[in-house]
Symmetry: C2
Subunit: 199 residues, 2 copies
């Protein structure tokens, strides 16, 4: 696996980021050494610094790339007009996106403490922008489509509920992604749609 020496660059930069992401997700940023990352890629520790300024920048770039991808992916999704349909579009998107990228999601949620204050602020702003998307969907339904007492709290409750899937979901388990999307939509629907009037 490990190259002997003298190889040309090819895609060493991306491979470093991929290895770092995987190791950070498994063991945590602080517990992973630059030497471990280099070994995973098959280069020596010193070579990493040709592609990354330092360890902190490596973490930040991974988290920023994830947040940017997330926001861009959601922006690219066609949005139905109907608030309830739009909400289902969001829950389906959130589940599918997060299940497809467990390492990115895990690092983005777990390593906030290890960012410098400036880097933390940048990531936090992007996270808030994403939360604001859901809040806006719920807020647009206060005409009677939704029955939501507190838009902000409900948005946070929904995101926590949906993101929590990544903590226990196993791809070889009894549920596939489509079934999960259906179950969580039923939970979401009951949570925010008005209850039918009793007979």
């Amino acid at each position: 696996m490990a190259r002997k020496s003298g190889s040309h660059s090819e895609i060493t930069g991306p491979r470093i980021r991929h290895a770092a992401l995987s190791l950070f997700a498994q063991h945590g940023y602080a517990a992973v050494s630059m030497r471990q990352i280099a070994a995973e890629v098959g280069v020596q520790a010193g070579a990493i610094y040709l592609y990354v300024t330092d360890k902190q920048a490596l973490l930040f770039e991974l988290m920023e790339a994830h947040m940017d991808d997330l926001l861009a992916a959601w922006a690219a999704v066609p949005k139905p007009k109907d608030p309830a349909a739009l909400l289902r579009t969001f829950t389906d998107f959130h589940i599918a996106y997060h299940l497809d990228r467990p390492d990115q999601v895990f690092v983005a949620y777990m390593e906030l403490r290890n960012l410098t204050p400036e880097n933390f602020a940048a990531i936090e702003a992007k996270r808030r922008a994403y939360e604001a998307e859901l809040e806006a969907i719920l807020g647009a339904g206060t005409d009677g489509t939704f029955d939501v007492a507190d838009t902000r709290v409900t948005a946070m409750a929904l995101i926590a509920m949906l993101t929590g899937i990544t903590g226990w979901y196993r791809t070889d388990g009894r549920l596939d992604a489509a079934r999960l999307q259906e179950i969580y939509w039923q939970l979401t629907r009951k949570m925010v749609l008005p209850e039918p009037v009793t007979a």
Copy 2:
């Protein structure tokens, strides 16, 4: 603050655990050194080893104590017979307990990766026991009290939703604990109780 020297033990052991918990919650287990913990307590690094075998044992003891406390506290709560009332008892308990111990909760959820395999298995078993409590409550209501398609998934969804509060709640914010308990009960109630028959 820092003692000069020659002081007697008093409560140095508990103070070490308290300082470690606080620092682990802030910066993460791997990022915190034994010297930092010692400095917080006001002793030298070497003194810690009179009370703790090593850093891993320190982490494990903190997490085990938290899980044991959690299970014992729930066991001590009076349980109403009615499934819906019991569910509300659980959600109120979970919110109050978690809001009162943000550091313990944070460490218990974030540092699982840093446990040895044996220690991880021990903590995971206790966590599963707690999740099973909620699953049993939901399962006991399948006579018609609850409308739950998948007991296990719904239990995980509820726990993630409730625990997520600790990620954004600020004690100086606009919501107090009682208001949160009320909001989250409404969300929970709508999620799992059957919808009234339409007129």
